[in-house]
């Protein structure tokens, strides 16, 4: 059963006279209870995609130009602000990247959890308070620390509080925007483990935004690789990790250092991501691609390699045609 369907989403930011094409016609489906990893470099449009789903693209300068975002078949882009407020925090919750700045420093953590509960559930103050304590316990923080302020918590604990806020109303879709990037590695593992456990317990679907392929391998069932505002390849975890087809995906995997091979330098993808205010014609990756040919100056086709595996590249089309 499809929970969320993004169809041909286009989001642009106008900065002065430039138009930054942050998201260029992406399509994505999230099934109920599934976890999909959205992978890409900084500036690939991952966060903008997430904010579009939340209806929180900062406007101005950002604007959703076209496309549909369907939750249970209802287009979120057509909903009023008031209707979206009922969905945010209740049906779709989001965990932000930086736990240090995502909590209000002058409110106790308990109040911040309670706030979302009171917004979406008609229960008394005492009950909301009790539930907030339970949420704290659920993420491994003693309930008696309810009345403490964010500055009294460590980074990892703050991120757990944020997770508690996100899960407080038992959302059906959780968007986690680089939830572990700001944490050190040992805490990362704890937080990821906890997220996976809670997700399984509550059957929450999740979009995990990250640039860490290791995290994706650990948590996700499906993967979508984003580059310059487009999804260049998507498929199941096996599709992407065992048989990546897009040159960019292959480059990403090659750039992970291999412990068994001694090498002086890391394998990198040469060049930089194109300026999103001046994208090249045709394939966005073609300037950095070793396999680029003349035809790459045209818009590459989306090739279905299997029921689950799709890639946007001429190369795949040629190979498929040749088979």
């Amino acid at each position: 059963m499809e929970l969320l369907e993004i169809k041909n989403l286009v989001v642009q930011y106008s900065v002065g006279r430039d138009v930054v094409q942050a998201v260029n016609g992406i399509s994505l489906t999230v099934k109920e209870g599934a976890t999909i990893g959205l992978v890409g470099e900084t500036g690939a449009g991952k966060t903008t995609t997430a904010l579009s789903v939340m209806g929180l693209v900062p406007n101005p300068p950002g604007k959703v130009k076209s496309g549909e975002i369907l939750l249970d078949g209802e287009d979120l882009l057509k909903k009023s602000n008031k209707e979206m407020r009922k969905i945010r925090g209740k049906d779709i919750a989001m965990i932000f990247q930086d736990p240090m700045t995502s909590l209000n420093p002058v409110m106790t953590v308990g109040e911040q959890i309670m706030e979302v509960i009171q917004l979406h559930e008609k229960i008394s103050r005492q009950d909301a308070q009790k539930k907030a304590c339970e949420m704290l316990e659920l993420v491994g923080i003693p309930g008696q620390r309810y009345g403490e302020y964010p500055h009294q918590f460590s980074g990892g604990m703050k991120q757990r509080v944020i997770i508690a806020i996100a899960l407080a109303c038992n959302p059906r879709l959780l968007i986690a925007d680089e939830p572990t990037t700001a944490l050190d590695v040992t805490i990362q593992a704890q937080v990821l483990d906890m997220m996976r456990r809670l997700k399984e317990t509550y059957k929450t679907a999740m979009i995990l935004i990250t640039h860490d392929l290791g995290v994706v391998a650990e948590v996700c069932d499906q993967v979508a690789i984003m580059y310059a505002g487009e999804i260049v390849e998507k498929g199941t975890l096996e599709d992407i990790y065992e048989s990546p087809r897009h040159p960019y995906t292959i480059g990403l995997f090659q750039s992970i250092p291999d412990l068994d091979v001694e090498s002086e330098r890391l394998n990198i993808i040469p060049g930089m991501m194109p300026d999103p205010a001046a994208l090249p014609e045709g394939c966005n990756f073609c300037e950095r691609c070793q396999h680029a040919t003349e035809q790459c100056k045209k818009q590459p086709p989306v090739v279905r390699l299997s029921d689950t595996h799709e890639v946007q590249c001429f190369l795949a089309q040629d190979e498929k045609g040749g088979e």
Binding site: M54, L56, N81, M84, R85, K86, I87, R88, G89, K90, A93, M94, F96, D98, T101, S102, L103, N104, P105, V106, M107, T108, G110, E115, V116, L119, H120, Q129, C133, G140, I141, P142, G143, Q144, R145, Y146, G147, E148, Y149, H151, Q152, F153, S154, G156, M157, R160, I162, I165
Partner: protein
């Protein structure tokens, strides 16, 4: 732990503990007031001492005979060396005696207290008006940045900061007293007499408060926790008021404190235009008359007021921002709480 698992009890316990620390901090601050007041007294006394001119002539008039002048000098101890006079003044102040006015012969403290209520009333009412207008306008300007309201508000506030208060006062008198004849121009005989002076100073205060509110709000509105609040499904109004405004208050409270201090000492021009018998005007008159004890006493009194206001501002910070509160508390204690927290996690 001594306190049970009940979060409300725990919170109460934490607050009592922290409250004790903050009280200790306040006591320390009150002790620190003494050297400051000492400094103010020495500086003002010295300034008056080195000012040329003889108060005896001010008391007796230009045509005083040398004998009369000598008599006055003897009576007031004006011929004694600097340190002896300073010591005598301190001895008096410590006993609550600020000396007597050369001009009226009444105790300085009584003279000050006759005028202080007027000054305090004017300062507090004007600041209150300034806060109401300034904070509201500042929030709207920040939320609707670059809108017509923001642009017009910024221009008006620039005008308000630059326009001299005596000029604004006279324009208001011309308009409401002379032309429209709906408000009295001078005196302090009833509530209606306060409207124009309070408006003059209040508008002036509102401009600086608005600018501070606007810039502070703009900074806060861009913070991640504002986005968190929206992601919870919170309404825009509550996001602005509960999350943004509370975080923006520290600089606003600071400027409000500065404003009150400024109005206590510096409302001279407005007091003059509206003929309000206030402290500022009294001190200026006394400087001209060389009524040294009044100048010293008046400045010392205003200094004390400003120190108390600054202390109040610092205490208000505690209620706004818990981080400042824990900074005030014992550092060792804060560290212990920190490690306790980490071991829990």
């Amino acid at each position: 732990m001594l306190h049970g698992g009940n979060p409300v009890q725990h919170k109460l316990y934490m607050e009592i503990e922290e409250g004790k620390q903050v009280l200790r901090y306040i006591a320390k601050r009150i002790l620190m007031m003494l050297p400051i007041l000492f400094g103010i007294t020495v500086i003002v006394f010295t300034l008056m001492y080195i000012t040329p001119g003889d108060p005896a002539y001010a008391i007796l008039g230009e045509n005083a005979t040398p004998e009369q002048v000598m008599e006055i000098h003897k009576e007031y101890g004006l011929d004694d060396p600097y340190l002896i006079r300073l010591g005598r003044y301190f001895a008096g102040v410590l006993q609550g005696d600020f000396g007597t006015s050369y001009k009226t012969g009444r105790p300085v403290f009584t003279e000050i207290m006759d005028r202080y209520p007027n000054t305090l009333k004017l300062a507090l009412l004007s600041t209150l008006l300034g806060v109401v207008i300034g904070v509201a306008a500042g929030i709207i300007a920040a939320v609707k940045q670059y809108s017509i309201f923001d642009r017009v508000g910024t221009i008006i506030s620039l005008f308000g900061v630059s326009a001299p208060s005596f000029w604004v006062a006279m324009v208001l008198v011309l308009l409401f007293s002379v032309k429209l004849k709906i408000l009295p121009a001078t005196g302090t005989y009833g509530p209606q007499y306060w409207i124009l002076p309070v408006f003059t100073l209040g508008l002036q205060a509102s401009t600086s408060i608005m600018r501070m509110t606007r810039s502070s709000m703009l900074e806060v509105i861009r913070q991640d926790y504002i986005r968190t609040s929206r992601a919870k499904g919170q309404s825009e109004w509550k996001t602005i008021m509960h999350h943004a405004f509370k975080n923006a208050q520290v600089p606003i409270v600071t400027i409000i404190g500065i404003r009150i201090c400024g109005f206590l000492a510096g409302a001279v021009l407005v007091e003059t235009v509206f003929a309000i018998p206030g402290l500022g005007k009294y001190i200026i008159d006394s400087v001209n008359f060389k009524d040294y004890p009044v100048v010293q006493g008046g400045v010392l009194w205003i200094g004390l007021n400003c120190i108390v206001i600054n202390l109040l501002v610092d205490i208000v910070y505690c209620f706004i921002d818990p981080r400042i509160k824990s900074m005030y508390s014992n550092k060792k204690k804060a560290a212990a709480v920190g490690t306790g927290g980490a071991s829990n996690g």
